[in-house]
């Protein structure tokens, strides 16, 4: 159980900017502090920011709670205070149970040491006893799949092997309370799946998980409850789908829209320049999150700057693993393709059907090109991103199945099913299993 009671964490702005001082700086500071008492009122104003501002919540044993928010909202500071890495300025926290904090994969790893040595060292740093590490050693190595290289210095490991081994140590820590910060942002998809699986297993045995992430898909999948932070304060606390939806729909800094207000600095050349790229749901709203069952539009606006040219827009849909799922081009609209072009702003929208993509985070790359001769006028990767979330309740591709559903796309395909009139062979009705 975790009880967070009116916790505030302040940083002096000076301390955040100039990370550390020198004695030379300290001398005038002391002088100022000494003279300050003769200037009434001078000391009352201090430049502080509240990285955490009066945060209170409670997490029961066996709950998995996601913490979301934009960069600088205080998510990581909260985990650092909970993990006793830094002290709160005000307030109190009570943790009941052994705490394992996983703010980084590979804490305490040393590149010169072998895999075996690092497992022992990292385990000890994360809070395992020597006997415990030795007992779990084989399981850790097996989970990481590095048996053959266990006596090789980890500096020779591939990044995947390194990640697997580092996570394996943390996964076998077995605390009652696990604090995890963005560890899923690294590593390949297989590794991420493994981590998520381990965390799900962890939760299912009644342990408490606090999980900071930018990846809404994994937050929704792992956590029933989500806390939304903004400017150091807790602004929402509730069921995962509701809070994530609120987060993704809030604010203008949406990742689902990108606008270049200034034509001269927008990506492009003398023929065409990008103006805006956005994701709109079927009702026309900017949509950082898209229901897997619903269609949505990828909208691109660009400035056509010359007569006589024939720029065309293409979009790339790229998933989290960097795989381009598809490329589509507005010349598929043959009527538009034949239309003579005038300088001006052009808006084109590409409709992506529902029940077609898999869930997860997707990125859009947008390009403006012309053919004959083939020229690329503008090409921008990761212009906008959005989440495809599977909230289907039996009516989606996955039906009622709640487990992992592989595949880079998830189209609703047609199934023709019929009963063939035939007699069931007699032998199977007698109860024997026949292969």
């Amino acid at each position: 159980m975790i009880v967070v009671d009116h916790v505030t964490k302040q940083y002096a702005i000076g301390a955040v900017r100039a990370r550390y001082g020198t004695l030379r700086d300290a001398v005038p500071k002391v002088m100022r502090a000494m003279t300050r008492r003769f200037r009434p009122g001078a000391a009352t104003r201090r430049n502080v920011i509240n990285a955490l501002n009066d945060v209170s919540f409670e997490v029961k044993a066996g709950e998995a709670v996601g913490i979301i928010g934009r960069n600088g909202a205080g998510k990581s500071t909260l985990l650092k205070v909970l993990g006793r890495i830094t002290q709160p300025t005000r307030g109190a926290i009570d943790l009941y149970g052994r705490v394992g904090s996983l703010l980084e994969v590979g804490t305490g790893f040393h590149p010169e040491l072998s895999g075996r040595e690092n497992v022992i060292l990292s385990g000890a740093i994360l809070g395992m006893r020597r006997a415990e590490i030795l007992r779990q050693f084989d399981a850790i190595v097996a989970f990481a799949e590095v048996e053959r290289f266990i006596d090789t210095p980890v500096k020779f490991y591939s990044s995947g092997m390194y990640m697997r081994l580092a996570f394996a140590v943390a996964a076998h820590l077995q605390p009652e309370i696990l604090l995890i910060d963005e560890v899923l942002a690294v590593g390949d998809s297989n590794f991420q799946k493994r981590c998520l699986g381990k965390m799900e297993e962890f939760r299912s045995v009644g342990r408490t998980v606090l999980f900071v992430s930018h990846n809404m898909a994994s937050v929704v999948r792992l956590c029933q409850r989500v806390i939304l932070m903004q400017d150091g304060a807790l602004v929402a606390d509730g069921p995962a789908d509701q809070v994530t939806r609120r987060y993704l729909q809030s604010g203008s800094g949406s990742p689902a829209e990108r606008i270049w207000p200034d034509v001269s600095s927008a990506p492009g050349d003398g023929v065409a320049r990008l103006h805006a790229v956005r994701i709109r749901d079927e009702r026309g709203r900017i949509a950082p999150t898209v229901d897997v069952r619903k269609p949505f539009d990828v909208e691109v606006e660009y400035w056509a700057l010359q007569t006589g040219t024939r720029p065309t827009v293409s979009i790339h849909l790229v998933n989290e693993e960097g795989i381009t799922l598809l490329v589509s081009n507005d010349f598929n609209n043959r009527a538009w393709w034949r239309t003579p072009r005038e300088p001006g702003l052009v808006r084109c929208a590409c409709r992506v059907p529902g029940n077609f993509l898999a869930e997860g985070q997707l990125f859009i790359a947008a390009a403006v090109c012309s053919y004959n001769p083939d020229l690329v006028h503008a090409l921008e990767y990761d212009v906008v991103s959005f989440q495809v979330v599977d909230r289907s309740e039996g009516d989606g591709v996955r039906g009622d199945y709640a487990g992992n559903w592989p595949g880079v796309i998830r189209p609703m395909l047609e199934w023709r099913v019929e009963s063939i009139p035939a007699q069931v062979p007699v032998s199977t009705t007698s109860g024997d299993v026949v292969f």
Binding site: R19, T86, L95, L103
Partner: protein, 296 residues
């Protein structure tokens, strides 16, 4: 649809009676804005005692990786220093060495001095040198400088082989009384931890420490009878020598090796100075410990 709908409000705070008391045997971690009491911190230190060993072990493992001579450096360094000192101070300057062969005399001073100097050097930079630990995982921070001092002990033990060789060669006093070296070494480690821990704490905020330490250690060495004998110091200056705990520890170290009487007054005084230094260091460390992660 109303985008501000948040679902259930903030979960209710526990009733006035506060959170339920933990089940017996359950771990309870209380995080407060005030500094935890010393006894709680000492208990934490005890709970994490294995980490002293593991961090020291890592330091030693890493120190000699990718070196051709490996751990032989631990003997070579004091041995080469001893040869240089013997040439310049023993042969040329003819520094008196209390009737002991100068090489043995010098080595018996270099050995404890190196233990202390290496300990202070390693621990004063240890906290600043471990940002990945301090910003990512919790454990009592005092373990970091503590382990840095401890890792020098292994070097010392290996270098002690050189002392054993010199003692058989130049006729030192080999008997059971040599076990008195153990408490002397213990006091030296304590002193190194005190000085190093204090500097490590200051170093987090004021990086000047990195430049001060080598200079300071050099001065301290000249103020300590490492290359010369304390008997060389005029009697009226001896009082100042007594304030330097390292002086009496090195004198004691030699006295045990060469079977000479121990100056118990000096040792007692130095022990008090050492304990005071450790207390100052713990106090300084605890004052800034909680802000390490904010400064590194």
């Amino acid at each position: 649809m109303n985008p501000t709908a948040t679902g259930p409000a903030l979960s209710a705070r526990p009733s006035a009676s506060g959170p339920q008391p933990p089940a017996p045997g359950e771990i309870h971690i209380a995080i407060r804005s005030t500094r935890p009491p010393l006894h709680a911190e000492l208990r934490e230190l005890w709970a994490h005692r294995e980490l002293f060993y593991f961090l020291a072990w890592r330091d030693i493992k890493v120190r000699y990786k990718q070196t051709v001579l490996g751990i032989a450096w631990a003997v070579l360094q004091p041995a080469l220093t001893m040869i240089v000192f013997t040439l310049f101070f023993g042969k040329l300057a003819r520094v008196p060495s209390d009737g002991v062969a100068y090489p043995l005399f010098a080595y018996a001073g270099i050995l404890p001095w190196t233990l202390m100097a290496a300990g202070v050097g390693a621990s004063s930079g240890s906290v600043v040198g471990s940002p990945n630990l301090i910003t990512k995982v919790y454990f009592p921070r005092m373990i970091i400088p503590g382990a840095a001092v401890l890792s020098g002990l292994v070097d010392f033990l290996i270098a002690a082989v050189g002392l054993a060789l010199l003692m058989t060669r130049y006729g030192g006093h080999v008997s059971w009384t040599l076990v008195w070296l153990v408490p002397v070494v213990g006091l030296i480690l304590l002193l190194a931890a005190g000085v190093g821990g204090f500097l490590a704490a200051i170093n987090v905020k004021y990086r000047d420490v990195r430049y001060i330490v080598p200079f300071f250690m050099q001065l301290w060495m000249f103020a300590t009878p490492v290359i010369y004998s304390a008997s060389l110091v005029p009697a009226r200056w001896r009082v100042f020598l007594a304030l330097n705990p390292m002086a009496s520890y090195i004198e004691a170290f030699r006295a045990v090796c060469f079977d000479k009487p121990l100056d118990w007054t000096a040792i007692g005084l130095s022990t008090l100075v050492t304990l005071a230094m450790v207390m100052i260091a713990v106090r300084a460390f605890r004052t800034v410990e909680q802000t390490f992660a904010d400064y590194i």
